[in-house]
């Protein structure tokens, strides 16, 4: 069968809607979870087929949506991220509304990375902000911080794009960068990120933050036209965020704020790579986009499983949970280390590429990146020691890892360790994409 002949892109964009519509008629939460899982697995298959068939088809193009070398590898990653979120939600807390939000969120992710029309992209990014807002409202949690930042994001993005189209590109691109900075939680525009993790459910918060839609936005809306000075300023802000997030993650006493700050630090590195507007930086960013999303989602999986058992945990004392959930402890450790680019994990090669590419901008940039990696590494181990070492609490009930959690841990382990051996051809393809995005002619010695 010729895979290329199938309408895979349409299928991938339609499946989440069909899934959401189906789940909307299901009142039983376990059944809703099963339906959602089935749709996500189908979607993962379609996304995988799209990614694998890219070489054969040379891309799939619709009028407004397209599969190209930027979007193709991200499709399975985004679906996997949502799949892990669903698997990581404990059975008692799955609701049909949550399943619908997950399915709509996966549509948003797929639509954003495949969308070619700037205005439609902006519209989808704006609509995506409604999902967490909907949840915050329904939970009765404070939402003003989130609403304020996201309103600013949408307004700046819209005005910026309008100005770019009407002959004032310098100001327009500046506003777009500002908007993407807000969406990406770049310091000092980051206040909504820790707040969202504190107030919303973990799943919703991570689905809003981890796909790094601001990176897709930056690639589609900024490159290659944005002025170098604006991008340089943004890249410095990203570096500051990487350090700031790492430092803040170390001193947090709340697991969720720790995670939020770790996300800020790691995701800012991806945005930094894009903002460098160099081929090497962008290559690293495209690789890091995949590894950071997956490893942070995997880390969240462990944290959510721990929270489901023991409630919200603080990091200012040792809880001693290792003996109760050794599998989750191990998973927490290796996913955390993968986030910071530890050798042998999915994050290592992208981080090395980022470091190697950073020398183009001076040794101080490399130094800053290395400090950020150091701080994040310290934060991870501090959290690990706080959660899993210490005197074992006496509990009357056994809380071993469940079967579904074990499936999640196995998937995560495979992603984290198998992903470490990223074939050179994939890195080379990311390099080609970076060259084409920046409009650079490949030099004869390349690849």
């Amino acid at each position: 069968m010729n895979v290329a002949a199938l309408p895979l892109l349409e299928l991938a964009l339609l499946l989440p809607w069909v899934g959401a519509a189906t789940v909307a008629f299901v009142r039983n939460p376990p059944a809703a979870a099963r339906f959602s899982l089935a749709f996500l697995i189908l979607l993962l298959t379609a996304a995988g087929a799209i990614a694998l068939s890219l070489g054969a088809t040379g891309g799939i193009r619709n009028r407004t949506f397209a599969i190209d070398e930027v979007s193709a590898p991200m499709l399975p990653v985004l679906v996997l991220l949502h799949l892990l979120t669903l698997l990581g939600t404990s059975k008692a807390r799955v609701t049909p509304a949550l399943c619908i939000r997950i399915l709509l969120s996966v549509f948003v992710g797929l639509a954003v990375v495949t969308c070619q029309d700037p205005w439609l992209l902006i519209a989808i990014l704006a609509l995506a902000t409604l999902l967490p807002f909907w949840e915050l409202r329904s939970l009765g949690k404070p939402f003003r911080v989130f609403a304020l930042y996201m309103s600013a994001f949408v307004v700046f993005l819209g005005i910026g794009q309008f100005l770019v189209g009407t002959g004032n590109p310098a100001l327009g691109f500046g506003l777009i960068i500002l908007a993407l900075g807000i969406r990406g939680g770049i310091v000092p525009l980051h206040g909504w990120v820790p707040r969202l993790f504190q107030n919303a459910t973990y799943g919703s918060a991570m689905l809003f933050v981890l796909p790094l839609m601001e990176v897709a936005g930056a690639i589609r809306l900024l490159l290659p036209g944005a002025p170098a000075a604006s991008l340089n300023a943004a890249s410095i802000a990203c570096l500051v965020t990487a350090i700031y997030g790492g430092g803040m993650a170390i001193v947090q006493n709340d697991v969720r704020r720790f995670y939020a700050n770790l996300c800020l630090s790691q995701t800012s590195l991806v945005l930094y790579g894009v903002m460098t507007h160099t081929v090497n930086g962008l290559t690293a960013a495209l690789c890091l986009w995949v590894s950071a999303s997956l490893s942070l989602a995997a880390l969240a999986f462990s944290i959510r499983a721990i929270e489901a058992r023991f409630g919200r945990l603080s990091l200012d004392r040792h809880h001693g949970h290792y003996e109760q959930v050794p599998g989750l402890a191990v998973s927490f450790l290796f996913t955390g280390l993968a986030c910071v680019g530890f050798p042998g994990t999915v994050g290592f090669l992208p981080m090395e590429l980022l470091f190697a590419g950073s020398i183009d901008h001076g040794l101080w940039v490399s130094f800053t990146l290395a400090i950020a990696a150091m701080l994040n590494g310290i934060a991870i181990l501090r959290a690990y020691f706080a959660l899993f070492t210490g005197r074992r609490p006496s509990m009357s009930v056994s809380l071993p890892i469940t079967r579904i959690e074990r499936v999640g841990v196995v998937i995560i382990a495979l992603i984290v360790f198998a992903g470490a051996w990223l074939p050179p051809s994939i890195v080379a393809s990311r390099h080609r994409v970076a060259e084409s995005l920046l409009g650079v002619t490949p030099s004869p010695g390349d690849h």
Partner: protein, 458 residues
Amino acid sequence: MTAAPTLLTALGLAIVAAPLFLLGSFFAAFLVDRRLSEPTTGRLVQASVVTGLLAALAAAVVMVRAGIAQHTIVLGDWTITPSYHLKLAFVLDLLSLAYVILALLLCGIIGAFSTRYLHRERGYSRFFVLFAVFLVGMVTASLSDTVETLFAGWEMVGLSSVLLIAFFQERPSPPRNGLRVWIVYRLCDVSLLLAAILMHEVNGGGDFDHLVGQSAWPAHDPLPVSPHFTLLGVLFVIAAAGKSALVPFSGWLPRAMEGPTPSSAVFYGALSVHLGAFLLLRISPVLDSSVWLSAFVVVIGLITSAFAYVAGRVQTDIKSALAFASLTQVGLIIAEIGLGFRYLALLHLLGHACLRTLQFLRAPSLLHDHHQLENAIGSRPRDEAVLWEQRLPLPVQRSLYRLALERGYLDSMLDRYFARPFVAFFRALDRQEERLADAIDGSRTVPVESRDVHPSRP
């Protein structure tokens, strides 16, 4: 003779694959949720270490017989452009083979010792998993031919060391000390990372042979003298100082003694603490490129040696005393490297690692023997040796004693000038952030401990 390089490649891969097989076995058991029994774990450890050791010895024999001084094995090459590439490569030469044989030999001994020493210990499996990570890291670092490969091994050694320091995790101090050691390691790893980046800038790649030429260790091609080389050398020295607990990073060494005796023996007595010296031996041509750099290395080595001697005099537990004794010798080895005595330093390193492993392993039973001796003679054995410190004026003696007891005030300085200001600064920022968000939201954030421990939603 044309078969020799192929054979060497196969043997080199076997050396690397053996510990990877061990780690992979533990990982597979974790994935399928099976707990390996103690005898199975012991057999797996012995099989992998012996396989690796035999392969390393065979590689040494083949190299001597075929007259090959250096053999490179490339496992992965992520070449993007000629000036932008990462390589996973190993080298077989005198230095790497000597160190990897030492590592496998001592790990084999420690593995055999630990299967009995930790029998029925709750963390038996955890110990051997970390042992496997350490072994993979040590083999990778020893055989590394590129700075990226070295960094990978270096980090694995660091992580496994720290988690073994926190091995007795129900007590509060081991995790706390583990975290402190991790902070020092990470701080110095920044230096290694920067050195790696600078190597790419200087060489267009992370390969050591680009840096020092094609000649086998310790010979090397003449290096161009440039400011970059001195900076590169300084970065490598800082990285080595962190891993080998040289001054001013010596504060972590006694903290590392919290771990079980076998891990203390193999990490802080024998292998991990010498890894810094190994790194300096590997990049010794860079040291040769600058007299000032070599002098810097000699001074650091001698200061460390003197400090460790003084601090070691006042230790009251045998493991800390041995750790400082070890550091005294490591300081001397570093000084020898700075002075250009490469073979002497290598021999000193190998001999010292073996001796110290023996002493660490003997330590628990020696204490037992000592108690028996005291019981037999009815009093403590008299120490009649006259110490040179007693010839010093009393105020100097007291100052020296205080300095030794406080371990050179290195930890307190780290706390006072770095850790506390850092934490205070970021906590202040955190409070400001919370206040601003509270003001906008019109609600106050409740500290996590005061919250309902079982919220309605995760």
